[in-house]
């Protein structure tokens, strides 16, 4: 009797200890998650805080008298004349009218408020509407990058303001009058890279990324899935298969820059493919993504219950039918998830692409797989390395766009998994 009671006592004591351990373990878990979350919050506040201004542009809106004499132009449909015409003068005259205290004498200082590209904008507008010649129109053109920086970051010591004090006063007055305005930066989404921050955009990089991803997906998904099926279902169990398996696992751990070197040596030097093009980028990223896709696809195939295989074999399905009709559909969610995560990894990859020349300064939006291009993370890399702070805010904005792509790809992976998942 005493024996039993003491045993109960021992159990009770050990229970207390066990519960304490459990509570401590749970606290560690919560702490770990809190650290991870706060790191994430710090990262996002920093990027968003620095980058949200990248999504706005500064413009000048004013009434412009499109006088033919002033522009040396009497027919807006004549291309030759359009090439020679002066499009700066009408804008400058219009701006001088808006700036209080500005005269012909300080026209240089006033002109520096206009974006060098503004005259091109005016030419394009006139080309689209030739009948505007000789009339007065209310037009909106881009402001100079220095004006952009001043309008957004006037009090910020991190930014150096390049405008003179008089120019600063003018801009203050123009903002008050509503001539200088900030609005949504459509230029950022509709143009390629540029030396001028206020005209630089990510469209070229986004299209480059898209083309590269298409090449990567088209190559790596079928090859990866086929390799996984072969290794999992058909390969004989021997030394060679073991060797291949070990090496696939090793490949997954190879630093990505090595794949870049390989791409440079094999695709560009040996096969003579052009540099900086999405096809080569896609090939390199395919090599990098393949191990991930193979490993996740094999895991997905392994998780198909053997009872389903047996059931199909028991009715007389051939090996191929078992794989195609039963194993693949059940393994598909896992395969897709693995592939999308692999693609997301490839989308964020920079190092190997630097080596194959996708780091070049490319203004044009690429029109095909064999045209020079850059990709989003490399664009971020380029801008982040720029000494001009106006590029830094665009780099942060580009990071946000990249993150948005990555998050939506991962959401797609989760969604697909939920949708295709079947229970048995």
């Amino acid at each position: 009797m005493t024996d039993q009671r003491s045993q109960a006592e021992i159990v009770r004591q050990s229970l207390k200890r066990r519960y304490r351990k459990e509570r401590r373990f749970r606290a560690y878990g919560i702490l770990a998650i809190a650290i991870a979350l706060s790191a994430l919050v710090v990262l996002f506040t920093d990027i968003i805080g620095k980058g949200y201004t990248g999504f706005t542009k500064t413009t000048i809106t004013m009434e412009v008298n499109l006088d033919g004499e002033m522009m040396y132009l009497d027919d807006a449909t004549d291309e030759k004349q359009m090439k020679m015409a002066d499009f700066v003068e009408p804008l400058l005259q219009a701006l001088i009218k808006q700036v209080p205290g500005a005269t012909e004498e300080n026209r240089e200082a006033v002109r520096d408020l206009l974006n060098p590209y503004a005259s091109n904008e005016l030419r394009e507008m006139l080309q689209a509407n030739p009948d505007w010649l000789g009339t007065t129109q209310t037009l909106t053109v881009l402001a100079h990058t220095d004006v952009d920086v001043y309008a957004k970051h006037a009090g910020d010591s991190a930014y150096s303001i390049k405008l003179s004090e008089r120019q600063q006063q003018w801009v203050d007055q123009l903002i008050e009058k509503g001539v200088v305005q900030t609005s949504f930066n459509d230029v950022f989404f509709t143009s390629g890279d540029s030396r001028d921050p206020s005209r630089a955009g990510i469209l070229g990089a986004v299209v480059g990324s898209l083309l590269t991803m298409i090449v990567t997906l088209v190559l790596s998904f079928p090859i990866g899935v086929a390799a996984a099926i072969y290794l999992e279902e058909f390969a004989p169990q021997n030394k060679l298969t073991d060797f291949i398996e070990v090496n696939i696992n090793n490949l997954a751990a190879v630093p990505s820059i090595i794949f870049g070197l390989l791409g440079l040596a094999v695709f560009i030097n040996l096969f003579g493919m052009p540099r900086s093009v999405p096809v080569v980028g896609g090939l390199v990223l395919t090599l990098m993504t393949l191990p991930t896709i193979i490993i996740s696809s094999r895991a997905a195939i392994k998780s198909v219950p053997p009872s389903i295989r047996e059931a199909a074999e028991g009715i007389g399905a051939s090996k191929m039918q078992v794989v195609l009709h039963h194993v693949l559909p059940l393994a598909m969610p896992g395969m897709l998830t693995g592939s999308i995560i692999g693609m997301a990894q490839a989308l964020g990859e920079t190092a190997p692409l630097l080596l194959i020349g996708m780091v070049a300064f490319i203004v044009d939006v690429p029109g095909g797989f064999f045209e020079s291009a850059t990709v989003l993370p490399v664009q971020v890399f380029l801008w982040a390395g720029s000494p001009e702070l106006a590029f830094i805010e665009r780099a942060s904005a580009a990071i946000m766009v990249l993150l948005a792509f990555l998050v939506s790809m991962n959401a797609l992976a989760i969604g697909l998994r939920k949708r295709l998942e079947r229970r048995w």
Binding site: E232, E310, E313, G316
Partner: protein, 295 residues
């Protein structure tokens, strides 16, 4: 390091482990003489003619020199303690052991006087003739209709949709499931109860019109009512099919089978008419087993 095919190895583990499972009060090894079977192992109208069959997993011998006939349209039950090799032996009959690489089968196994393990033998054709129902109900995660229609589809048994509909209906009727599912053929099969799923698996096996149906403990995952339903079904099916059933329930063997074979540690100890095995067993091991002294 991982092995190449985990499905295979896990199966192998499962069946490999069986022969070494200890048996309580293990009688002296000398009582069994290898290759010697008491009773009536042979039949005149044999569907399966099995002679000197040996099965080994690597170094472990799972089946030791078994000879047996399975007669046409009979129901034969394999009984015996866990790990005695009855499931392994059953799986030899439609070569389900093929996928286990370390499994080796020797001896002569004939179905209608044709060698099952012949190198030229097409295993797909064999399995179309020898269907199988497994221990755990394993319907495909598809609709009820597609489950039953799968076999006929892959074997090309029906050219028109109406033919296929007919096969599905007949199979479900034979499996006693038609009344319960005729209004929801498009419902997913995994949503059915365990007993219904197992009868669906039987319907699926019947749909390709096999000559033999192998059943590996078909009722071990079912409740008594579902078990009774499946047993009824077996009695009806025995008119048109040859049935080989592995069971742990001696009552079940007694209820459904014409003949009963008693396995012990890879040996086939005794084969006889079912009522003879259960009323006056000839071998002392059989007697110990059916009286519940071990197993």
């Amino acid at each position: 390091m991982n092995t190449i095919n985990p499905a295979v190895t896990s199966e192998a583990d499962q069946y490999q482990a069986e022969p070494v499972a200890p048996v309580r009060e293990q009688p002296e090894e000398t009582i069994i003489e290898e290759g010697k079977t008491v009773g009536r192992p042979f039949a005149d109208n044999a569907k399966f003619k099995l002679r000197d069959v040996n099965v080994s997993y690597g170094d472990t011998r799972a089946i030791k020199n078994i000879s047996l006939d399975v007669a046409k349209n009979e129901v034969i039950a394999f009984i015996g303690p866990s790990g005695c090799g009855k499931s392994t032996f059953l799986r030899c009959l439609n070569r389900m052991n093929d996928s286990i690489e370390i499994c080796k089968v020797t001896g002569s196994l004939q179905l209608d006087d044709q060698d099952i393990y012949d190198r030229r033998r097409d295993v797909v054709e064999l399995r179309a003739r020898v269907g199988m129902v497994f221990q755990k109900p394993n319907p495909f995660p598809k609709s009820i209709y597609d489950n039953v229609a799968y076999g006929p589809r892959i074997h090309g048994l029906a050219n028109r949709k109406s033919d296929l509909d007919e096969i599905v209906e007949n199979s479900l009727r034979k499996a006693g499931l038609w009344g319960e599912v005729k209004d929801r053929l498009d419902a997913t099969a995994t949503g059915m109860s365990g007993g219904q799923q197992q009868r669906l698996c039987i319907a699926r096996a019947i749909a390709v019109s096999p000559e033999v149906i192998l059943m590996d403990e078909p009722c071990s995952a079912l409740d008594p009512i579902a078990t009774a339903r499946v047993e009824e079904l077996m009695a009806e099916m025995s008119e048109s099919y040859t049935i080989v059933i592995v069971t742990h329930s001696m009552q079940q063997a007694a209820r459904v089978s014409n003949r009963t074979a008693y396995f012990h540690l890879g040996h086939l100890v005794e084969v006889n008419e079912t009522n003879k095995v259960f009323t006056s067993p000839e071998h002392e091991l059989t007697e110990s087993y059916i009286t519940g002294r071990f197993g």
